[in-house]
Symmetry: C2
Subunit: 291 residues, 2 copies
């Protein structure tokens, strides 16, 4: 028995590492897999036409809704609850297929970044927005075409369009709309972006302030205004999320994990984790066991 | 009076250096301009729904047809004849707007490259192909949206899709379909690609053979099979095209043009040009005068 969260790899033998599948069909055929925590080595964009129930993503419960999108980068831990009922389409693609240049990597990262700021990855699509139906329709038709020298590029463009429109829906949310001209907002964006790169090597607020060329008070004001959290809390949350991921989907020891996250001493990590989550690392790992 | 072919610049004051306009409307409003040879500092993709008459592109007469596409990179010399009747849409965009990375520049170049090989830039769209209508429709709708931080990227993606589908239609032509697995075809592609970069510095077939690591006989066989021309003729045609362009849309002297094209002596250029076109450079320039 695999005690840890299983990781699924992109299906071999397809023309491209990119696939669009019917969600209802997918859920029916993979019920055993999706009701238990699992992760994938590919990115997933869920486009729910009809959806109810709970989808748990990275230890957060997300209440599903009709006409919505959910983007989950590779390695995210997922689980549908057994009452979840969904229809729609699911786009799967690997980084390897999609990221043909550094701009693509940044675009992918921005999808997640914006999710962090909105504290939720479920994005509701206004009824009058037909772009997603349209682009998914084009992808379906593209798969009916014979493979030629431009097909991979065409598919990458469709994925880019979906991600850009996904980001557009996120930044049109009130939290973004009200803030997007705001210096606080820009500063928090820059902070979160930098944090994503350095959280495991630089847990000190001072490091980010120095790099961003602002005072700690300035950063504190910005994060309070936008996220109602202190920079310290945001850094802590990011490290805790990574600790949870490593605990449940690696078999690394607590000692190894504590070093990977930049702690000098495993006991410090254990204290930090318990204070943040109420559980010891080993207790958390056991509570998420896939059995 | 401007003796030389006028060059039009992208309209100032728009949100992006990208525009889609109704062709019928455009032709009616710009009749005086388009009936005379002119060029633009932006790229143009014509999507003809209905079209008859002649469109002259870079000194070649192209007979227009319904449901067709014509791509003209910046600096190409255009003229519609006065009996031309067209409807459809015209996409305009600058290199500056579109080329966000080197892949985009290569894509743009490939649109022209493929045109060279097919000896015509008019591409007929099969009736069942709805991609162009679809993508142009999406671009129109996009211009109704407010500008936001992703709009330029979204537009670039739509342009990329159009160009990729345009290339797909080209490579599905018999000349490409029959040759695309062919080593000759790949060699000619590589040769034309290299020629585009070096025609004015390296007019010798030997230079290309050495760079492509093939014998002159091998290259000769390939270009004969694919284009029914010798490498020498292809190089000559490329230099002649550039000479014509410089003669008609610059005011450079024949001497200056001959040096720009890599000739040691203007008299050699004049002899070369006359042998190729039947006219002296100055006679050719006069014959194209915009008066």
């Amino acid at each position: 028995m695999n005690k840890f969260i299983p990781k699924y790899h992109f299906r071999k033998g397809l023309r491209h590492e990119c696939e669009v599948i019917d969600l209802e069909h997918f859920c029916a055929n993979n019920r055993k897999i999706i009701l238990k925590p699992h992760r994938t080595n590919f990115n997933q964009l869920f486009y729910f036409h009809k959806a109810k129930g709970i989808h748990t993503v990275d230890f957060e419960d997300i209440t599903l809704a009709d006409n919505s999108l959910l983007f989950a980068p590779k390695d995210t831990v997922h689980r549908f609850d057994d009452k979840a009922e969904v229809s729609g389409v699911l786009l799967l693609f690997t980084d390897n297929f999609f990221c043909s240049n550094s701009q693509d990597s940044i675009l992918l990262r921005n999808c997640v970044f914006h999710s962090n700021i909105t504290q939720s990855t479920l994005i509701h699509i206004p009824e009058q927005n037909t772009v997603f139906d349209n682009v998914f329709g084009q992808i379906y038709r593209e798969f009916d075409n014979e493979k030629d020298s431009v097909q991979a590029d065409i598919l990458r463009n469709y994925i880019r369009l979906l991600l850009l429109h996904f980001i557009r829906e996120q930044i049109s949310l009130p939290i973004f709309r009200n803030q997007s001209d705001n210096q606080d907002f820009e500063l928090v964006r820059a902070f979160e972006d930098m944090l994503e790169q350095h959280y495991n090597s630089s847990p000190q607020v001072a490091y980010y302030c120095q790099s961003l060329n602002v005072t700690e008070k300035r950063l504190q004001t910005a994060t309070r205004n936008i996220l109602d959290q202190s920079p310290k809390e945001i850094i802590k949350d990011r490290i805790v999320l990574e600790a949870k991921r490593l605990l449940v989907y690696s078999s690394d020891s607590v000692k190894e994990i504590s070093f990977r996250l930049g702690f000098d001493e495993p006991t410090n990590f254990t204290k930090f984790f318990k204070k943040s989550t109420g559980k010891s690392p080993m207790d958390f790992r056991s509570s998420q066991k896939n059995d």
